[in-house]
């Protein structure tokens, strides 16, 4: 074992990359849950996004179009969840699970002729000036564009939820759908839009795995990332700022674990690969104090 082989700068730099898929999926789910809907189908939407993004990117040769396709794919799949839970008033927990099972099957079917192909490369951008700062430059300012897009989406969501009227309506719908309905807000419409935004973000997160992180398509490649994203929303107490912290914490554990594997620590690889999931459980135990939106998971049926 040679721990000195682990380069702390590279470790911190890859932390941001490891955290990005989870961050993208989690910020979408945060909006969905703030609107009062619990969509457990994140894993299914992520994996569908991963395959959609991969197919579009290899067909067009453009990773950007791939990400667009992934967002569309995720949003379309989430539409299924939306129709079932908002119009057919099905149980959100069960429907979310169905979405995951369905998404895993669908993605495997769509991706079967894409196994073993490499995705078109997505070059890192080197932010001028900032990227040249020693230590901080390589850690923060030399990544692929999606890392910054993800952070931008988080900032945008924070601004939307806390500084806009539409964000206020969305939060009202999530806190008490009956009261929001009585005030004349469109509960269903708000929720459908939130669900589709969540699907699009989960799709982006999945595509980040298949286009940047791995960059290949393999069945079941999300390996629980969608569920971890759900856990991070709880960790963040439904607040965008803390979501970044949670995702980076998770990214840190993942990267450290991979580095320890590479350094040949005496612990078998299988035990090390458990650590991100165990860390997630630990985080859930410590952080169950946050207050969930009031109407989270409840069926809205306008009584007349």
């Amino acid at each position: 074992m040679d721990l000195s082989a682990i380069n702390p700068i590279l470790l911190l730099a890859s932390l941001m990359v490891a955290a990005t898929p989870i961050l993208l999926a989690a910020i979408g789910e945060l909006v969905v849950e703030r609107a009062g809907v619990l969509n457990l189908g994140v894993e299914g939407m992520m994996i569908t996004g991963a395959v959609c993004g991969f197919i579009v990117a290899t067909a067009t040769g453009s990773p950007w179009l791939g990400f667009l396709g992934a967002a569309l794919g995720g949003a379309l799949l989430s539409l299924l969840f939306g129709v079932l839970t908002q119009f057919l008033l099905s149980n959100q927990v069960a429907t979310g699970l169905a979405l995951t099972l369905f998404g895993l099957g669908l993605s495997a079917l769509m991706g079967q002729s894409y196994l073993g192909i490499r995705a078109p490369a997505f070059p890192d951008i080197h932010v001028p000036l900032l990227g040249d700062i020693p230590v901080i430059g390589p850690i923060v300012f030399q990544h692929d564009p999606m890392v910054y897009v993800g952070l931008g989406i988080v900032a945008g969501v924070w601004w939307f939820l806390n500084r806009t009227r539409a964000g206020l309506v969305l939060r009202a719908v999530g806190e008490n759908h009956d009261a929001a309905h009585a005030l004349g807000y469109h509960v269903r419409r708000t929720r459908m839009l939130a669900i589709m935004f969540g699907g699009a973000c989960a799709g982006l997160g999945g595509a980040y795995l298949s286009l940047v992180r791995v960059p290949q398509w393999t069945e079941g490649m999300t390996a629980g990332a969608g569920w971890i994203a759900l856990a991070i929303v709880v960790f963040a107490s439904w607040k965008p700022g803390r979501l970044v912290l949670g995702a980076y914490l998770f990214g840190g554990v993942t990267v450290l674990q991979l580095n320890l594997q590479a350094a040949g620590v005496a612990v078998p690889v299988e035990y090390l690969s458990m650590s991100p999931y165990l860390a997630t459980i630990a985080v859930l135990v410590i952080m169950s104090a946050g207050r969930a939106p009031g109407s989270l998971g409840r069926i809205f049926h306008a009584a007349r």
Binding site: L40, L80, L84, L88, L89, S90, N91, V93, A94, T95, L97, A98, L99, L101, F102, G103, L104, G105, L106, A108, L109, Q112, E219, A223, G224, W227, I228, L230, A231, V234, P268, E270, Y271, S273, M274, Y277, L278, T280, I281, L284, V285, S288, H301
Partner: protein
Amino acid sequence: MIVLDKRPQPSRLWSYAAPVLAVVLTMLVGGVLFAALGKNPVEVIRTIFLDPLFSEFAWFYRPQLLIKGAPLVLIAVGLSFGFRAGIWNIGAEGQYIIGALCGAAVGLALYPAETRWIFPLMIVAGAFGGWIWAMIPGVLKVKFGTNEILVSLMLVYVAESLLAAMALGPLKNPEGMGFPGSRNLAQYPSAANLELIAGTGLHWGVVAALIAVIFAYVVLARHIFGFQVRLAGQAPRAARFAGVNPARMILICMGLSGALAGMAGLFEVAGPAGQVTIDFNVGYGFTAIIVAFLGRLHPVGILLAGGLMALTYIGGGIAQSNLGLPAAAISLLQGMLLFFLLAVDVLTHYRVRFAARQVA
């Protein structure tokens, strides 16, 4: 404009008809999907749903129905208790793996002793393994209010890693020439879960599944605990006033489903699978969720739904080898089935009415 009115009571007719309608819709939409894949939809549907039962090779497939169906029914019966009470154990797959590991470990530790007590001991160890794995999310929920859905799911991934570690490490066959995987328990008579009647597929897991169905039926229909489970799911506040202790309810429901899933894992590893391998688990824990819902969380319904789901596995296998249908199409079909069931269930709880659009 379509308006939904809540029924004062769920419709009995629709609660029976909804699963049937869901199956029919799945066949129709599945048929369109198969046509899009360039297959003859009628032929594919017939292969999946009828050939295992009625084709000339049905004698070969029918026993498979019991082998595939038993673990699904066993796990789904356990899950249905929690689901009824609003406790979501989604990690049955992990409990299944740990049950298999614990049970197999006991059998392998006693190799090559020959007594009739080994197999019963393995069953106990399997149930214990599943129970303890389910207790983790259960206790964390009771003590810290942690979400049981997420924790039980995380533990599936932990269990998968543990399975790989065991297959490559402590449980590896010392005479296996370095290949991963344990000794074959099916070749160790004291520990084997063999067919009880040759050519039927009937093994101890099937017996256990049937006992579980009867047990669940009696408990739900006749015992105070069954009443409390139903009450806790339908009216949690009323349940508290009626003296239902939520923490106890969570621990019992989680423990019960974990123990049954663990037993299912043991029966599988000692019988049809035979050995602990890296990819021993095949997703029964997740499919059982569909079985539980499709069976309306009712023991008899679960028995029927387990049979249907086993049919799609076997028929899917036939369609895969004979018609070149991709394996993923079957899991897609299973997911679709759950979707349609949840969708048509609106008819059970609501009355659909066509009304003129009102001016708000």
